[in-house]
């Protein structure tokens, strides 16, 4: 039995998840006030009604849109700033300490300022997602540019490569695996930033409905919505992780 489980870790994993769901089901049905928690079976059944709640699909779409835009901007800004900092000694010496300093600040402290500047609409959420997501990407790009083996640059130069060719065919591919690990961390950051901002204040996104379901003591729908968000996050993370393993295949 033990040997079978060792050879099929997926089965054991599934078992653990099932056990947790059963525990939750039992606790929710018989031991905990239904004002605060719903059993998973009921949450699952209620998913339909969550979607049927007026404006919830639009809110989900809006949050997804915020995530996508924030992630795209984080990648673009992260790559550009990362290259600027990583490719020049001057840029590295001057800006890297600043990047590290900013990265170290818990950004939740400046969320109100974002709301003040960008309003309570999607712009603030996107901006907050971008500032969370771009730092790990900057760091990854800088690392990816700098961990290049000098002999590869020398060898490219000896074969007549121009600066542009070196950037395109040596620096860029060397950076890719690092960039993807940065993008995975960046995706986690974007999710954190966007959802934090959503929950803090929201008029049309997911945050609005979570606070509404909370205030109405409707844990079934609240859990359903949170579940949908979690699924969204897992799917997005998985997408980037796939990209990462795909592009890291040459790593020796």
């Amino acid at each position: 039995m033990k040997r079978y489980l060792l050879r099929h870790p997926g089965v054991a994993r599934l078992g653990v998840i099932l056990l947790m769901l059963i525990g939750w089901e039992i606790a929710a049905r018989w031991f905990i006030d239904p004002m605060f928690i719903s059993p998973p079976s009921r949450v699952l059944m209620a998913l339909g009604s969550v979607f049927a709640t007026p404006n919830v699909p639009a809110a989900l779409r809006l949050t997804f849109f915020e995530l996508a835009v924030a992630f795209a901007l984080a990648v673009i800004i992260g790559v550009v700033l990362g290259l600027a900092v990583g490719l020049s000694k001057f840029g590295n010496k001057t800006f890297m300490p600043i990047v590290l300093l900013l990265y170290g600040i818990p950004q939740i402290t400046i969320l109100p300022i974002f709301i003040l500047y960008f309003g309570i609409g999607p712009a603030a959420k996107i901006a907050f997602g971008v500032t969370h997501g771009m730092f790990p990407i900057i760091m990854a790009v800088v690392a990816g540019v700098q961990n290049i083996k000098p002999i590869l640059l020398t060898s490219a130069r000896s074969m007549g490569a121009s600066n542009w060719q070196i950037l395109r065919h040596v620096v860029y591919p060397n950076m890719i695996p690092s960039l993807f690990s940065g993008m995975r961390l960046g995706m986690t950051g974007v999710l954190l930033g966007v959802l934090l901002a959503e929950l803090y204040v929201s008029t049309g996104g997911i945050g609005y409905f979570t606070s509404m379901f909370t205030q109405n003591f409707d844990p079934t729908k609240l859990l359903g919505l949170v579940g949908i968000l979690a699924a969204m996050a897992i799917a997005l993370n998985e997408l980037v992780r796939r990209g990462e393993t795909h592009f890291a295949r040459w790593r020796d």
């Binding site: 002999i151 020398t154 000896s158 074969m159 490569a161 060719q165 065919h169 890719i176 040459w250």
Partner: protein, 286 residues
Amino acid sequence: MTQAATNTAISVRNVSHSFGEADEARHVKALLDTSLDVTRGELLCLIGPSGCGKSTLLNVMGGLIAPTTGTVMVGDKPVHGPMPNDIAFIFQENALFPWSTIHENMILGMSFQGVPKAERADRAQRALEAVGLDEFAGHYPSQLSGGMRQRAALARALSLETNILLMDEPFGALDEQTRMVLGEDLSVLLSRSKKTIVFVTHSLGEAVFLADRVAVFSARPGTIKEIITVDEPHPRKSAFMTSARFHQQRDQLYDLLHDEIRKSMAQSGKPKRAYEDQSSRAGPAA
């Protein structure tokens, strides 16, 4: 132009090179007033104690390092930077791009050099066949052994079809059996291609086995102390390696090198004071 000059592939004139500014702590005089003519079609080995400036001289010849003083000419052109159409490099370290297959590595090298697109695949195939790696064109460098990787690097250099190959301890990281076989292969390749090769090595046997001439370096700051000639036609057979002449020439090289290696080790040895420090520190503690 004189006959001698037209027969010279690379001419190095009074080249000195220092790393770092004169007032810096890590200022190193690597090469001192070195002059050398590499004859067309020969294989010239550079041998000397480690750190004596062999790689520096090779990189200066290939335009990868601009010397502090002195000049280098390739044919009738002064060297001011890489000359991909005349010179190809092979390094000790694996310099293949790890994200590309062997075939892609070769295509990329040729695109850097400016080979027309239509010719690249053909040339890659021929060069891979020449080093016996045609079956591994689709492999990534990490999937090959160290010896195969260096053969692939050789193929990439051959595909550039330059007249000159500069090789910096290309087999230095390989085990002795592999480097012997690769040495024989190189000798065969050489006799077919008529290329001019400058080959850095720290192996006396490799130098005598491969070279038409061996230039022996002095300890740092390096300069060429003596040049010996190995009169044996290419391709060289393994029988040459067991001949009396081979051993006699290797011993001659060893004699030339011996003193320089001692000097070079004295340069890098730790100052004696390190011992005194330790003993004085041990005193009060006990």
